[in-house]
């Protein structure tokens, strides 16, 4: 199953952490096997609390793994690195910095680019994510969708080998979310960066990804992998394609089995209308 050419390879990954208050060891994911191919956009979906975000944090190098192996281009992941960049669920923008200042923060932290070069490239990046004219605006003056564009631009400016996205559109309203999905695909198709996208939104996963991986409930591991054979470029109408709906059914069923309370019982509990 493991492809030598895999960009990211996870083998039997186990992540544990100590819960301070109850003084107990908590296993978030146990035995995750997956690979992300070069240039692929892979989405992970799963019931909430299944450890998918924890897994992504481990890929970013923010938390250590307790077992198994996690490699990017064959190199063990031990800490955050220049080959990865994360787009966070909460934008995490410095409120005292303008859009421009926030976009360059990633490369500034990495120390890889001179300030003037960073600023020049950031301006292009800001245009790419559709924020031209807002370079000097402060984060608190921006809508949630615009803040996430800054978050995305900051990650893209570091020109990573792999882009990690942690439910970046989860906090947005439905319409903005759809627009952001469309734009993410547009930007992604220009760069074809290998990307790992975490979401709880099944439609979003199918719409964006080449493959969708379903996690089991906690402790999370890979339950099944769905190849999304919808041709690109995809516009938002794909979401009404019969094939799309088939995928949605398949994934939803798979997740349903993992929910603590089976859906049949949920339905049975509703009084007949």
């Amino acid at each position: 199953m493991y492809d030598r050419s895999a960009k990211l390879a996870a083998k039997g990954v186990v992540i544990e952490y100590w819960l301070q208050r109850s003084r107990s060891l908590f296993t978030a994911v146990k035995g995750v096997d997956l690979e992300v191919r070069p240039g692929e956009l892979l989405a992970i979906v799963g019931p909430s609390g299944c450890g998918k975000t924890t897994f992504l944090n481990a890929v970013d190098g923010l938390i250590p793994i307790a077992g198994g192996s996690l490699t990017l281009d064959g190199r063990e992941i031990r800490s955050p690195g220049r080959d990865r960049a994360m787009v966070f669920q909460q934008p995490g923008l410095l409120p005292w910095r303008t859009v421009l200042g926030n976009v360059i923060f990633g490369v500034e932290a990495q120390g890889t680019m001179s300030k003037s070069e960073a600023v020049a490239r950031a301006r292009q990046q800001i245009e790419l994510v559709g924020l031209k004219g807002f370079e000097d605006a402060y984060p608190l003056e921006l809508s949630g969708g615009m803040q996430q564009r800054v978050n995305l631009a900051r990650a893209l400016l570091t020109d990573p080998e792999m882009l990690l996205l942690d439910e970046p559109f989860a906090a947005l309203d439905a319409q903005t979310r759809e627009m952001m999905q469309l734009e993410l695909l547009k930007i992604w198709s220009q760069t074809r960066k290998t990307a790992l996208f975490i979401t709880h939104d099944i439609k979003e996963a199918i719409y964006l990804a080449d493959r969708v991986i379903v996690f089991t409930r906690r402790p999370g591991r890979v339950k099944n992998v769905v190849d999304i054979k919808l041709s690109r470029p995809r516009d938002l109408r794909v979401k009404r394609d019969p094939q799309f709906l088939t995928y949605e059914d398949e994934i939803w069923e798979s997740i349903q089995e993992e929910l603590a309370v089976p859906a049949e019982r949920l339905i049975a509990g509703v009084p007949a209308a």
Binding site: G92, M179, L230, R232, R237
Partner: protein
């Protein structure tokens, strides 16, 4: 359905919205609105002074007990006519300048260290708590014993007065750094030094300036009380002597001098605060 046209992205739906946090009102604000705080503030002060003058003019009590604002104003002018006042202002000013300046430097350094290094905080917390909950003024007799009645005991008490609010607020500022920001910085591989300079320090500025502002109040209390107890010169000494020799208008003139200094310093710090907060939308 086939997958065809590539819809050009039209982000305008999200971008055309007005900035999320700008102040709004349903009716167009009148031009007077802008000056409202100054006009109303001035009016209320004028009214209060007039009421005070009326009570004083009634002369129910002698000028010794209730001098009017006019008496105080005259005493104030007289203070500056003799020229002795400059020695007092110079002495008190130097005491505040040195004591408060040292408190700013030491408080900032200790507060940042305590906020950043948890173990350093554990080590110093007992002392900070002890001194912060003790009115440092009670140490004046000890300082007089140590340093005599020149400027040093006052400098010491001003320093200790201003030090702890600055330490505590600076530490709180560092501690209150948003976890999400730290995570972003770590994710991009930022060094500790960069995190400190670019994330923690700028985020702490509002807290630090609050500490400075509280410190001013403590410093002024320190200088006045210190000079009341023992001093050769100083505005506090002037107030003490005027009070003991029944020159009430002169005493109040000294009080106004102190209060004015406090307001001036506080306003200056507030100006700096506003400069650092230009990114924050107004909440009112």
């Amino acid at each position: 359905m086939s997958i065809q046209s590539w819809e050009p992205a039209a982000p305008t739906t999200t971008l055309d919205r007005p900035p999320a946090q700008e102040r709004r009102s349903v009716v167009k604000p009148s031009p007077f609105k802008q000056y409202e705080p100054v006009v109303i503030g001035t009016l209320s002060v004028v009214l209060a002074l007039a009421a005070w003058q009326l009570v004083a003019n009634a002369r129910i009590y002698s000028i010794l007990f209730v001098p009017g604002p006019w008496d105080v104003a005259q005493a104030f002018v007289k203070l500056f006519q003799t020229g002795d006042i400059w020695l007092d202002i110079g002495t008190s000013g130097a005491e505040i300048g040195i004591g408060y300046g040292m408190a700013v430097v030491a408080g900032l350094a200790l507060g940042l260290l305590m906020g950043w290094y948890t173990r350093f905080q554990y080590a110093l917390d007992p002392f900070v708590n002890f001194f912060y909950s003790t009115p440092r003024i009670v140490l004046i007799p000890l300082f007089i014993l140590w340093f005599g009645i020149e400027m040093q005991p006052k400098i010491a008490v001003i320093f200790l007065g201003a030090l702890f609010p600055i330490i505590i607020n600076t530490m709180a500022g560092v501690r209150n750094t948003e976890a999400a920001l730290l995570r972003v910085a770590r994710s991009f591989g930022a060094s500790d030094a960069l995190i400190f300079r670019r994330v923690v320090l700028p985020g702490s500025v509002p807290f630090i300036l609050t500490g400075f502002r509280l410190g001013v109040g403590h410093a002024l209390t320190g200088v006045v009380v210190g000079e009341l107890i023992a001093a050769k010169h100083g505005v506090g000494q002037l107030i003490a002597i005027a009070g003991q020799t029944f020159q009430t208008p002169k005493m109040l003139a000294g009080v106004i001098l102190i209060a004015g200094t406090g307001m001036l310093l506080t306003t200056m710090i507030q100006r700096v605060e506003n400069r650092f907060q230009s990114w924050r939308p107004q909440i009112r």
